[in-house]
Each structure stands twice: as structure tokens, then as C-alpha cells.
Symmetry: C4
Subunit: 231 residues, 4 copies
């Protein structure tokens, strides 16, 4: 079976989203990329999680052309492939409609860095894209969703490996990482961070977030050459 | 046993409501209709879910006259039958007191379409009926609850298959669908949509909802001749 | 064993509170009364729920004098016994620190009847007692807590069987019923009602509650000679 | 194995945090101290809870020098050891990013004593430290976090055994107790208290808390020579 270990990792990332309560019915999808072969492995569309097996995963090229599998890929495929083309360092993408992160996306506001839980994972606000124009919605909508993400990161000079998640306005979050396990982990932490941001902002409206010094300290504790966390 | 497969489907829809946390004790009911025979199958009133079996389901005609079964039907029967008579395309009705949808019903406000989760299922706001008059409450209350729903959809020209749920002011939601599985699924999604709408509206009060273009795109992605979602 | 079936019913009511998530660690207690013998059965103080057996229940007279058992009774005993003496129709009392009902008690505000879930169980607001005076706190505090409940019901002419629960200001709820099963059921419904009231009041501040006609209709649907709910 | 029973107690406290939903992934840590030997037992950094065994616990002296074990200690070790040096009565320290207590810490506000659940455990507000200066963050950050806690308790004359928890501004709570079981218990109760305080303060903004008489009554019911709670 082509890309067997990546299929297994992508399936496992999808199941992690279910276990952590981020996914209702089939409202979510995870994918991974094999950079050497230029192939993407993604969940099929609308299949019950209980029935998912590695062989059900769909394999496409980096432009979404199916090269293996008979099922339809996730309807969000074009967003995933565009992110892979634009962000060469990422190895996996996850999309959920998790309750609190989606509520921020619906509100159209970023999640400010309100504490160290956030700072350990996201080096600055988790941004929210601007609304798509009617034209962008009416033409290549799924592709244009990805383009809005990429444009927002480029325009605002945000490193996608330092802020591995985004809120799509009026829609829901995407998260990514170096591999499917990491991307799913980031999606789970994003939801935890969003939960606490919701409480913080309703308790103390207008809170702008922690200092740059605290952001630096926590982010570099877990990332980069000076990381000290873990074994 | 009369209507055996419909009884099983109605029981299963009732149990799905319990599994998804939409029902406390016996606060909910699901029914289905056999359009050819003009018969409705509905949960009995006030029986523990653990004890429910297909043979406990009550069979009535479209005006609520019991034609099979010895138990009393759900006390909301007259609302169900009125919806079946008024909305010929629906095949099942579900009623719950699920926490967030009921909170909107208690507030007497519709759930605006704040994101794509909503737009995938409900083509516009989930409406809230006006309060019943004292006279309507004091006479045929359960029937009049159904009438308030139907009047609101007719007056506002809402297609019940495009918006398969409603909030009854000061009471709780009803949802429906083409069959019991679909109606329960819509009730579960309604609760998820209400949860996120509550967070969105408390974060950004006055939010009016997404653009018509986004509503169109998402709704028609899952419905109608141009649907692309699923297998 | 004295009062064996009442001990079992009281234990079962205590366990129902745990199963429904109303009790953290040992923060709750249920009791029942045998009116013929004038005896109260109550949970012992501070014992883990996992270890509770019917023989651990403590038996006292209606003034709290222990007549059977070696363990200390719940520290809230004097509130329970006072309620039994003042409200002759009740057969059981339950006390929890359940999250949402306690939050209303901490806020010092009643839970208004915002919908039919409430109206099915509580015929009017769930009242909140006034704060105890420092003198009442410093003297017979537990007794005076019960006295504040009774005074509030008497002064405001509230029938304890029509409104089988109260919020003690700055403390937490008490609920009661005709037997331990019924009292625990009312405590569980109170928490569900409080959850929805919290959402309703934060969505639509100042909401005063449903009409008297709706209160009448729902309450008398389940209570009294004209009840139609259930089998 | 050195300090075997303390290792087991520390592991069990860590697992209690997971069971009670206070910890996501590895976001938490518990430690205990052997005062006679001057040794601290603490969870290793970034190890999955499923894999934790007593022998994985790390043993250090009171200045954080590892004296047994090969794994890295929790990255928060320097806060724990400073608390042990400054607060001689405490026997264990727990740190979590539990949702509601962390939200108060992110808001930078104390949790006022809004009811008797709080008063049974915390004799006054659960305080929140001032923000660390950039210099404190950029130098010995973890040590300085502990110093901010100790300074706040000393400056405000708070007895750490009467208020066995603190919120670190922009970060999360620490709790402590006479042993690991007690510290974990206090962290669990802190989260329950924070949950209810969040609801109370959003229902009734500006609520200042219960009277000193009620604080006294509840706190001394469970603590000190006149305690009457339990067996």
C-alpha cells in the first residue's frame, strides 16, 4: 500500500481529534504530506470515523489530483494542498469546527496571547483572516480559503511554524505542524487556548495579552536551539 | 408488528438524542411518519430510555388518534402531527430541551447564521416563534404550539426543508428531517450551532451573521443537485 | 436494621447526585424522613461515596438527636431536620453545591421561570434567601440556614410542594420532594434549569420570565388532579 | 528505592489531576517534600501520564539539585523548591493550567470568596500575583515566579496554610497542602470554585464576596481546634 505509514499517521490524527472532542460527526479532517514524493494523504469526505481504515485514506498530488484510492477526498482538500505549496516547512494540516476556536472564527477576531499556555505554542495572536469577498466565495471557494490564509500570513509577516494555526473568518480553525501527530496536537491545544481566552475576555473585556518578554520566554522554552522542556 | 422498521428507526433516533447529551431524564421525543399509510410512530410519554423497546412505540393517525399500542403517546404528539400535516416533505420530528438551543428559545431570539457549520445545515437563521397568547396557551396548547411554528414559516416564507428546525419561544427547539435518523442528526447539529452562537454573541454582541454568498455556497455544497459533499 | 428501605433510598439518592455530576468529592447530602416513626435517615459527614453502604446512614429524631449509627451525621443535619418540622408534606431533602445553581446562590438572585423546563417543576421563581445576619451566622448557623428558608417561604406565601427548591444566599441550593428519589430528581432538574437560565440571562439580560398562563399550563400538566404527563 | 512512599503519593497526585480533568497532555505537575531529609520528589518533564511510574519521579534537594533519577525534572521545579523553602508548613505543591483558574490568572484578578464552597477551603480571596517585570522574566524566570508568589503572601500578610493556592498573573494556578493528596485536592476544589466564580461574576459583575462572619464560620468548621466536619 502506497505511503502506508503516512496513511496510518493521518488516520491516527483524525481519531485524536475525535477522542479530544474536537469533532462532531464528520466535521473535521486531517492530512499529511510526503515531501519527497510530492503526495498528500487526506481523510475521505463524509465517512464515519468508526469505519475509517488506513486504506480509506485518499492520496493526491500537491494540486489535489487523486493518484490512489476510490473515495472522494475531504471537501476541504484544496485548502490543504494550497497550504502545503505555500508553507514548505509544514508536514500536516488539520481542520476542525471545534467549539471555542470556531466561535472566535465566527466572531471574526484573533485569539490574543493571554497567557503562557498560549505562548508555549503560538508566538503571538492566532490570527483571523479577513472575510472572503463574494467573488472569492462564488468562484474557487476552497482554494480561496487557503489563499486568504497564506495572504494573511505573508502580508503580516507571520512565520507559519511559529504560529501553527489560523482562524478562517465565519468558518473555523486550521492548524498544522511538522507531522500529523503534531498538527492534531496543535489543534487540541488551540481549542484549550480558545476556551480560556473566551473566559478571560468575558471576565476582563479588552484584555490585550501578555508582554513580549513573556511570549519570548515561553515560546523559546519549547522551541529552537535553547529549548529546555521535555526529555 | 405494525411498522416494525419505522418503530426501530424512531427508537434509535430517541436513543441518539440521549447518547449526544441532548436529553435529561425523559425530556425529549422523536417520531416518524409513514406517508403511504398515514400513520405516525412516536415515543411513549415519560418512560425511561433504558427500558424503551420498539414495541413500546405508539402508533397514531395523522390527527393523533391511537391505532396501536397501549401506552400514552408523548404529550407533545399534537405538535408532531400538525407538523406532519402542514409540512408534507418531512418524514420525522424531534423535540428536545437541549441546553443551548433551549436557552435561545427562552431568550426568544433566533440563532443567526454565524458561520459555515450553521450554513451547512440551516439556510438562514433558525427562527424563533412569537410568544403564544394566553388564549392559545389555555385552549389547545400543544396543537397551538405546532400552529405557531407553521404560521411563522408560512408568514416568513421559510422552506422547512431548507431550515429544518425552529425555536419555540419560552419552550425549546423542534427539528425535523426526511427520516428519524436525519431529524435527530439535525437536532444534534442545532445544539452544536447554538453552543457556538452563544459564545460568538457573548464575545461580539450584535453580530448579524455571515454573507448571503457564504450561506449559498455552504448550503448548496451539501444540498440539491450540485451537492459535492460525501461519497 | 432499622429503616432499611429508607436507608437504601437515601443512599441511592446520594449516589444519583454523584452520577449526575452534582457533587464533587463529599460536597452534598441527602436525607429522608419516616413520618410515622418521626425518624430521619441522613448521609454521614465526609465519607467517600465509593465506600457508602446503607448501614453507614445515620438515624436521628426530628431534632437531630442520633438514635442509630456510630458515624457523625452530615454537618447540614440541622437544616434538614428544621425543613422536616416546618414542611410537613416533604419526605426527603437534598443539598448540593452543583455548579450553576450554586452560582445563582452566590449571586444572591432567584432563578426566574424562563421556560417550560422550569415550569414543569417549579411553579414560579426558585427563590433565594436573604443573607444571614452576622448574629445568625455566629450562633446556630446550620439551624438558622433552615430558618431563613422557612421564613422566606412563609413570608412570601410560597408552597414548598409547588416550588421544591431554594437557593441559600452565598451558599448553595437545597431541594426536596415526596421521597429521596423525587428530591434528588428535583435537584438534578434544578441544575439543568440553572444552566439554561445562566445562558438566557447572559444572552438577554433582564429577562423576567414566561407568562403566568404558561406557568399554569406546564405546572398543572405534571401536577395535581388534571395531570396528563406520563403513564 | 529512595523515598518510595513519597514517590507513590506524588505520582498519585499527578494522576488525580488527570482524572479530574485539570490537565491536558502534560500541562501540570505535582511534587512533595520530605522535610527530614530535605528532599523533593517531582514529576519528570514532558512524559505522558500513561507511562508514569514511581521510579520515573525525580528527586532533588531543596535547591533543585538532582540527587536521584535520570529524567529531567518538571521545568517548574524552581518554583516548587522556592515555595518549600519559603513556606515551611507545606508538604506538597501542585501546578496545573486548569481551565477556569487559569482564566482568572490570565485576567490578572483574584478569585473573591463568593460562597461557602470557597470559604471551606480558602480563608479569603485566592490572590493573583502582580505581573513579573521584563527583567524578572528574562533572568531566573521560574525562580522569580516563585518569588512573586512568596512576596505577595508576605507583603499582604496571607497565611499560606489558610489560603493554599495562588494565581500567577498571565500564567496559571499553583496550589499546595500538607501532603500530595491534600495539594491535589486543593487544586481540584480551586477549579470548582473558579468555575462558580466565573458564572457568579458574569451574572452579577462587581460582586465583592461574602461577609467576614461567613468566611470565619465555614473556614473554622473544617480547620483548627474547633473543626466539626467529617468523622
Amino acid at each position: 500500500m502506497l505511503l502506508e505509514s503516512l496513511r496510518t499517521a493521518v488516520l491516527e490524527a483524525n481519531l485524536e481529534l475525535v477522542r479530544r472532542g474536537l469533532v462532531l460527526y464528520t466535521f473535521g479532517n486531517a492530512s499529511g504530506v510526503d515531501r519527497e514524493r510530492g503526495l498528500v494523504v487526506i481523510k475521505p469526505s463524509g465517512v464515519d470515523y468508526d469505519d475509517l481504515r488506513p486504506e480509506h485514506m485518499v492520496v493526491t498530488d500537491l494540486h489535489g489530483k487523486r493518484v490512489d484510492g476510490t473515495l472522494n477526498p475531504s471537501s476541504d482538500l484544496d485548502t490543504h494542498t494550497l497550504l502545503y505549496r505555500a508553507f514548505p516547512a509544514i508536514g500536516a494540516v488539520v481542520h476542525t469546527h471545534s467549539e471555542f476556536a470556531t466561535s472566535f472564527a465566527q466572531s471574526g477576531i484573533p485569539i490574543p496571547p493571554l497567557g503562557t499556555t498560549h505562548a508555549d505554542y503560538f508566538y503571538g495572536p492566532v490570527p483571523c483572516t479577513p472575510d472572503l469577498t463574494d467573488e472569492a466565495i462564488q468562484s474557487r471557494y476552497v482554494h480561496n480559503t487557503g489563499q486568504a490564509i497564506v495572504d494573511h500570513f505573508v502580508t503580516n509577516n507571520i512565520d507559519p511554524m511559529a504560529v501553527p494555526a489560523v482562524l478562517v473568518s465565519g468558518h473555523a480553525p486550521f492548524a498544522w505542524g511538522k507531522d500529523p501527530h503534531d498538527a492534531a496536537h496543535n489543534a487540541v491545544v488551540l481549542e484549550a487556548v480558545a476556551k480560556m481566552a473566551y473566559k478571560t475576555l468575558t471576565l476582563t473585556p479588552g484584555h490585550k495579552g501578555v508582554s513580549q518578554a513573556l511570549l519570548d520566554r515561553h515560546y523559546f522554552r519549547k522551541h529552537g536551539a535553547t529549548a529546555t522542556y521535555g526529555q
